[in-house]
């Protein structure tokens, strides 16, 4: 089986698996030709964005069984991630096992979901562990995502970055999380950014591409919005906030602005782009706030793993404990849940 066949199999497995539990569109973004118009038309007001997210926290909440259901959905949207210098094959296999069974069986049953297949949205690793993860997840339908293109800084030689994508795809990664060259944004080289992302997309072939904008490095919401537009015009299937290595990672105001860009892009082109906040989302409460914002700004289609992912490593543990509390009425101990 060749590299691209492996990916196609991965992608169709993903689709088959998600189809069973989700409805709604998948990302489909062939991109459009470069234009400065939407970049120049960007208007973003920081204070208003902050007010919107602050007020939403008081306007939307879910309680009881709704909260439990939303927490389960959050699990299904997690890209369970390990991106450490000390990652090993063993560590990655443990993570994969957790992805297959993120929730203790007795809890799943108590929630009335015994027959439901609940897994995380994907596993996210460095290229070195793609093959291991693909192997560990065989038959599960869980896709493997690889961070790529000189993650996290994205400053290796251009050709090297393209080759890195190709290598991960060859190893069976169904999703590629690329990082953009922040300098292009900070210097306003939008055409260069477009060309770079477009080249990455081509290298991805059939694999879904998530473009990491490193919003913490871009600093301003205006930059975030402009970079989102260029990344989408260049064909990104998802836009993603952060590598998790910047000083500031995903935030709700940044999310708001990226979601509005996704909405306007769809309105303009008809193309559907997914969203992935990453870094710093570690509590069930955080996850609920993100889900509510997705629902309010983009609608229910973006409450599915096909269009929404959390990039997170410790979030799952907190959600499990909250679900146990829902089931038992007691606050749970971390040690009662299997570690990844």
């Amino acid at each position: 089986m060749g590299a691209s066949e492996a990916v196609i199999e991965g992608v169709s497995a993903l689709r088959a698996a998600t189809k069973a539990r989700n409805s709604g569109p998948h990302p489909s973004n062939p991109g459009v030709s470069f234009s400065m118009d939407p970049v120049e038309a960007v208007r973003v007001n920081l204070s208003a964005a902050e007010r919107r997210v602050a007020s939403l926290a008081g306007r939307r909440t879910v309680k009881k069984e709704w909260q439990a259901a939303w927490l389960v959905r959050a699990i299904e949207c997690i890209d369970l991630t390990t991106l450490s210098g000390d990652d090993t094959e063993g560590r990655v296999r443990r993570l994969c096992a957790k992805a297959r069974q993120p929730l203790r069986e007795d809890l799943q049953e108590a929630l009335g979901l015994a027959n439901r297949r609940i897994t995380t949205g994907a596993i996210c690793v460095y290229h070195r562990f793609v093959a291991t993860a693909v192997d560990a997840l065989k038959g599960s339908g869980i896709p493997v995502a690889a961070v790529s293109t000189g993650f996290p800084a994205g400053l290796s030689p251009f050709e090297t970055r393209l080759k890195e994508i190709e290598a991960s795809v060859a190893d069976g990664a169904a999703e590629i999380d690329i990082v953009i060259t922040r300098e292009h944004v900070l210097r306003g080289n939008w055409q260069a950014l477009y060309d770079e992302v477009k080249a990455f997309k081509k290298a991805c072939g059939p694999a879904h591409m998530k473009a990491i904008l490193a919003t913490g490095d871009l600093q301003t919401l205006r930059n975030v919005s402009r970079a989102s537009w260029v990344a989408m015009m260049a064909g990104s299937d998802f836009i993603k906030t952060s590598t998790g290595k910047e000083g500031i990672n995903a935030t709700l105001p940044v999310t708001l602005i990226m979601l509005r860009a996704i909405r306007d892009y769809r309105e303009m082109t008809g193309h559907v782009v997914g969203y992935k906040p990453a870094g710093g989302i570690s509590t069930a409460k955080d996850a609920m706030a993100y889900l509510a914002l997705m629902k309010e700004e983009l609608g229910n289609d973006w409450l599915q793993p096909n269009l929404f992912r959390f990039g997170a490593s410790s979030l799952l543990a907190d959600i499990e404990r909250q679900l146990e509390h829902y089931v038992t009425g007691r606050y749970a101990a971390f040690s009662h849940h299997a570690m990844a």
């Binding site: 204070s47 909440t61 229910n300």
Partner: protein, 791 residues
Amino acid sequence: MSIAEILDTMSYGPAPESDKEARAWIKTLGGETKLFIGGAWKKAKTGESFETTAPGSGEVLVRIAQAGAADVDTAVKAAAKAQPAWAALPGHQRARYLYALARLIQRHSRLFSVVETLDNGKPIRETRDIDIPLVARHFYHHAGWAQLMDGELADREALGVCGQIIPWNFPLLMLAWKIAPAIALGNTVVLKPAEYTSLTALLFAEMCQKAGLPEGVVNIITGDGATGEEIVKHPGIAKIAFTGSTEVGRRIREATAGTGKSLTLELGGKSPFIVFDDADLDAAVEGVVDAIWFNQGQVCCAGSRLLVQESIHDRFIAKLKARMETLRVGDPLDKVIDIGAIVHPVQLERIRSLVEAGVKEGATLHQPKAGVPGKGCFYPPTLLTGVHPASTVSRVEIFGPVLVATTFRTPSEAVELANNTEYGLAASIWSETLSLALDIAPKLKCGVVWVNGTNMFDAGVGFGGYKESGFGREGGREGLSAYSRPKWLAKAKAIVEKPAAQATGDVLSTGFVDRTAKFYVGGKQARPDGGYSRAIVSPSGALVGEVGEGNRKDIRNAVEAARKATSWSTASEHNRAQILYYIAENLDARAGEFADRLAAMTGQRRHDTMREVSASVSRLFSYGAWADKYEGAVHKPPMRGVALAMNEPVGTLGIICPEEPGLLGFVSTFAPAIALGNRVVVVPSASQALAATDFYQVLETSDVPDGVVNIVTGDRDALALDLAKHEEVDGIWYFGTAATAGAIEKASSGNLKQVWTEQVQRDWFDARQGEGREFLARATQVKNIWVPYGE
């Protein structure tokens, strides 16, 4: 619903806030509430009561006591008894009580929130996150003013007993806006909450007891409009503060006319929400949600008129309609709703009929698909497009969740449309270009402007209207003058007008060429419309000269000239200062001539009239000095941003000068007005009118632009009334007798002009009484421009 089913729909479930504690508290009221008078709970002497209901469900919560005239009288007496000792407390002592109230409100915040939501129907999110925190902040802020009063307001003192009447849309918040500044400065209060929403005021009274507030400082009496009327007409009340409809405000203006009560009114609005083509449109859409779908649109400063630049109209309306679909209307105690219940079926019916009228007049109705709950008092968020400025829904305050939309082509057209209303409370400007937004803000005739925001409030930032949205400010330093007065006033004697001197001879002058004193209108000398003259007679009976007998047409012409002189209001402060100094220079050059004239008219010694001319020159210098120094303030509300408190001219002022001193009284009143950019129609002293008519030659030689100062002589009281009735006059100052003051106040209710009547003798030669900040404050109104920022 099972978790599996929810996973398929990803719906929001109910998230009810418990009302257990609130209902337990309501139960303690014993089925029928009492009045809080003199620190104790008393049954209403009327024996009457009425139901208060929960708008979310329609159920009756409790019966509210209906206070009558006897109850109001008892309450006013209790307040009057408490007032001297309360005002005599050191500021620090009063500050401790206000601080305690702030802390008590914080400690019981959830109980206040839930009771408010039950009684009013507004969402628990709003009472919990907005109303109650602002209430606590108001008491904190004013605890600070109590603490600082002795130093910062050393020349001022409390007014006495304040009667305060508040609306149902922000029951506890309006109570805080009224009570906190009043008691901070040493007043005592009799407050009546709105009949639909009395409960949190009664809960607040319990907090006053807990705080150990001295008996009678705060009195809460409940009842309907009839109770309010009793408060308004009670002679023991020094000041009325009212928030509510313009219609009732007008009636209160008329009812208090001539009583000497001071008055502040915070009334209705039809505030524009202006979206320019360079706005963050998504942010502006959320702004609309906060503007008109906050508190069911039952907000006096609601952004109810959407003005969108034509080039972005379709896109903006499409975004807005999409956003309307995600608004949730329902049980106010549910934490996941955006829009709660309308306060009362009467209000619901008014909204319905106005929307119907709008549709009949050609507006296109848009409401979201979801609809509203079948039970309870609800109205859906509503957008009316294709609305023209002339239609009913564009002009009338609906006080419901109804937005009317229209387009504009250019910034100047946006300003014209925005100002095309009798109201002037607030406005919201959306643009990412600061130079555009800050150019528009001063051009809007209203008391509050939010740039890229809306419905922001803070205790430290004054709130209040222009035009028929009322007068007076609440909050901030600018709000303190409404509850205090200069200390010297208490000791001043009432003005007694002397009977006009009778001429004993009919020889006008000898040895001079005859001079005709005319009016001065629009920079030209004008003859009286009626063609009559009146004599100026010295106390000894000598005929000193003749001046024109003005009538209402002369007033009309003068007002028209004043209105046209708009460039004076936007002239630079330095420019205005130069002209005031120049007037002084030219007066000084003719000092002897003026001194002679005054001596002839008054029979005073020339030494004394020289003193008056010198004082007048000095006064002009004072206002030349002030012209570029009466600056606004930069408030720091708790946000990243600033609120710019700008002192703006009132507009066209009618000034009826004190009868004496003839020259100094004339100069002391018109000079502060024009120094700050007003254009004036001045009616000078009748007996010393020649001092003013001589003066127009000084004005002519001093580069005063045409129409800035207009002078009409004649019967002061008659002309005062003509000015008071003229609806293009924005404010009127009258120094004279109580009878005329009352008539002016009554007549002014037509356009609710800002009236300053004074019936006591000022020592115009004393700089503390005759000039300074008091005059400057009267010559201006404060506009607060909120500018949140950040990148």
